[in-house]
Amino acid sequence: MSAAGTVVDVLVSGLAKASLYAMMALGLTLIFGLLGVLNFAHGSLTMLGAYAAGLLMVTFAGSGFGALVWFLVAGLTAGVLVGGLGAAMEVALIRKLYDRPPIYQILLTFGITLVIDELARIVVLFYGMQPQTDWQAALGTKPSFIADTFAVLGGTVSHLELFEILWGVLTVVAVWAFLNRTRYGLVVRAGSEDDEMAAALGIDVRRVFTVVFALGAGLAGFAGALLMWDPAWAASVPLASETLLPAFVVVIVGGLGSFRGTVVAAVIVGMVDALMTYLFDHAIITFSGLPELTVFLILVGVLVVRPQGIFGLAEVGGH
């Protein structure tokens, strides 16, 4: 294979991975930025989104281009459903803990994860499917041309990768526009900066908290819809922890609560992941866990060298 082909291969698959990582992590960073809650249930919400979107696709979607339209509908519906669940979670449970040490929020959301995962397992089993394995029927709703590949400069690029990049970029732009170009986004940013000051200026911060939690959860559900179509992830109950850990890595590497940092970190992690996958696939390094190992090494490395993350504020990390 030509050198240019290699570059194309790694670059495109890196960007596709980066899109997925960004989508998994955006909601997490949004919630932490405003509420200061590290949401351990984020992966479970992503998993619910994958199942919800998969269910809609399996039930309604046809084939060909119609499926793409349905996919948009399914993704948005999954986002809204999971977002609603997030709002309910915030109002009923998380709100009670804002004045306790941050560890308690980790504990609570971890407990919510246990409950959601087991409920999902019950429902999935009830419909006669295996919770541990990927949901093939949902994967099968992908139109066949999405899986096609074509050659660019000697490298191969799949339509799925381009599709994922497109979705990732659109989501990032949409969230950016919400935060920077709308009045409510301004309120959210003000709340992240100093929630007491925002409250003093007459903003109902409690409601903003609920809205942002719903938005973050909705983004998780939306991300789940996209993962449901990717054979490397696909809908299954373990998807919850499989997505939670990389999302943590991206969010922390970028700097907890920093939108810009999360996007940059997603690109870094996605690129490194793609490069390591390439090295392993071409037997240059024969350790099969290499990509995953590197992702966690990035986390450890960044926390050692720059605990607050790439774009985080210094006083947030360490003491």
Partner: protein, 431 residues
């Protein structure tokens, strides 16, 4: 005249050793009661299940094998609580120490560790496993304790996941490292022995299949019971050691760090060194727990020892039992395993399933509720094998409303640690 009671005793010729033992027994009456109860448990269990009473006892009492698992995992949960509950630093990667201990013991038995032959006594290898885990803790801690709060939890999680991925895919371990490694029956045919190394008579082998059976006086203990006692003994010794540390000036400093680290530093304590020491101790006992776990099961896999959800199990046990109470996690784990066994899918160790089959007539089970779903089906769907759901709900309720956990709430009610309050309480009763 201010003469200490000891001096008076010495003058009067009273044996001070005996007095010391009495004082010690008095201080530890709560521990003695628990140990006596657990010591009698296998006997009680066999008697009660022999009586039968229609399988009620069998349904509600945990099996001896389950109790053994509660012991070694309880030790791991206690070690997790030792660092997380007492210093307030959430060690979310604690599974790495458990896994290090487990893998070390198995690899030594398989002759894969340089300098240590496969026939190294288990007591030596488990001790070395603890030391190894303590060294790993020092290495991880030296970097991680520069951070606090969420960041500390995340960096320890990161380290543990690196170890998890590495051990999952490292081909040196065996042909299929993803499924874990088991003890080679050729290199190490005998079960692991707990006791005093070198003295054959003072060793007993553990394990449900290859363990020793003992006949002594009227007692007839099978391999399961022997494993229960021997592993319980090691866990007891470890618990007492940790309990001693928690109630020493060292333990006080740990609590001070949890309550207000800046003040502890301002008072003059080098908190970094205290945290490191606590982390090493915690790692040591987690490693020992992992070693016991591996020895009992003769195998260890990345998913049951190194994965972050293993730490999650310890967290669950700690929160339910009592975060920041040393013995609490053991009770929390007992609760966890008890519920899981009660709602098990197979009904292997008693539990709800055989009980329902026995007592609920088929006509009730076949009654439809909604959409033709029968009572029996709904029990099958929502209860059996789904203990995690109910444990998760209990966990959430405890985090929100019972932050002290079982033992912590009891402690609040008694006005101090149970082990300290109980002697005084009993003395009042006698008066």
């Amino acid at each position: 005249m201010a003469i200490s009671t000891d001096a008076v005793d010495a003058q009067q010729g009273v044996d001070t050793t005996e007095r010391w033992i009495r004082q010690y027994a008095h201080d530890h009456v709560a521990h003695l009661l628990v140990v006596a109860f657990l010591g009698a448990y296998p006997l009680v269990y066999s008697v009660l299940t022999a009586i039968g009473a229609g399988g009620v006892f069998e349904a509600f009492l945990p099996k001896i094998e389950t109790m053994t698992a509660v012991f070694y995992f309880g030790l791991f949960a206690m070690s997790f609580d030792f660092i997380s509950g007492y210093t307030g630093y959430l060690s979310f990667g604690h599974a790495v120490f458990y896994g290090a201990g487990g893998y070390f013991v198995i690899l030594v038995a398989n002759g894969k560790v340089p300098l240590l032959p496969p026939e190294t006594p288990f007591m030596v290898s488990v001790l070395l496993a603890g030391v190894l885990a303590a060294l790993v803790a020092l290495a991880i801690g030296s970097v991680s304790f520069r951070l606090s709060g969420v960041y500390f939890a995340m960096i320890t999680l990161g380290f543990a996941q690196v170890a998890y991925v590495f051990m999952r895919d490292w081909e040196f371990l065996g042909s299929n490292p993803r499924d874990g490694v088991a003890v080679s029956n050729e290199l190490h045919p005998n079960a692991f022995e707990i006791g005093i190394p070198g003295v054959d008579a003072l060793n007993l082998a553990v394990g449900p299949l290859r363990g020793d059976a003992v006949e002594w006086l009227f007692l007839d203990l099978g391999a399961t019971e022997v494993s229960y006692y021997m592993i319980g003994l090691v866990v007891l010794v470890c618990y007492l050691a940790m309990q001693r540390m928690v109630h020493s000036p060292f333990g006080r400093v740990l609590v001070a760090i949890r309550e207000n680290e800046e003040r502890a530093r301002a008072v003059g304590y080098d908190t970094y060194r205290y945290k490191m020491a606590a982390f090493a101790v915690s790692g040591f006992f987690a490693g020992v727990a992992g070693g016991l776990f591996a020895a009992f099961r003769r195998s260890v896999s990345p998913d049951n020892s190194l994965y972050f959800l293993v730490t999650g199990d310890a967290l669950l046990a700690s929160i339910i039992g009592g975060f920041g109470t040393l013995a609490g996690p053991l009770y929390g784990r007992l609760f966890d395993r008890g519920v899981r066994e009660f709602l098990s899918k197979t009904g292997g160790g008693g539990g709800l399933l055989p009980l329902l089959r026995e007592y609920v007539p088929p006509s009730v089970l076949d009654t439809g509720i909604v959409n033709g779903m029968t009572v029996g089906q709904s029990i099958e769907t929502f209860l059996n094998g789904h203990a995690s759901l109910y444990l998760g709900i209990v966990f959430v309720v405890f985090v929100l409303y019972v932050p002290g956990g079982l033992l912590g709430s009891l402690r609040d009610r008694l006005g101090g640690p149970v082990a300290k309050r109980l002697p005084a309480y009993l003395r009042n009763l006698r008066k």
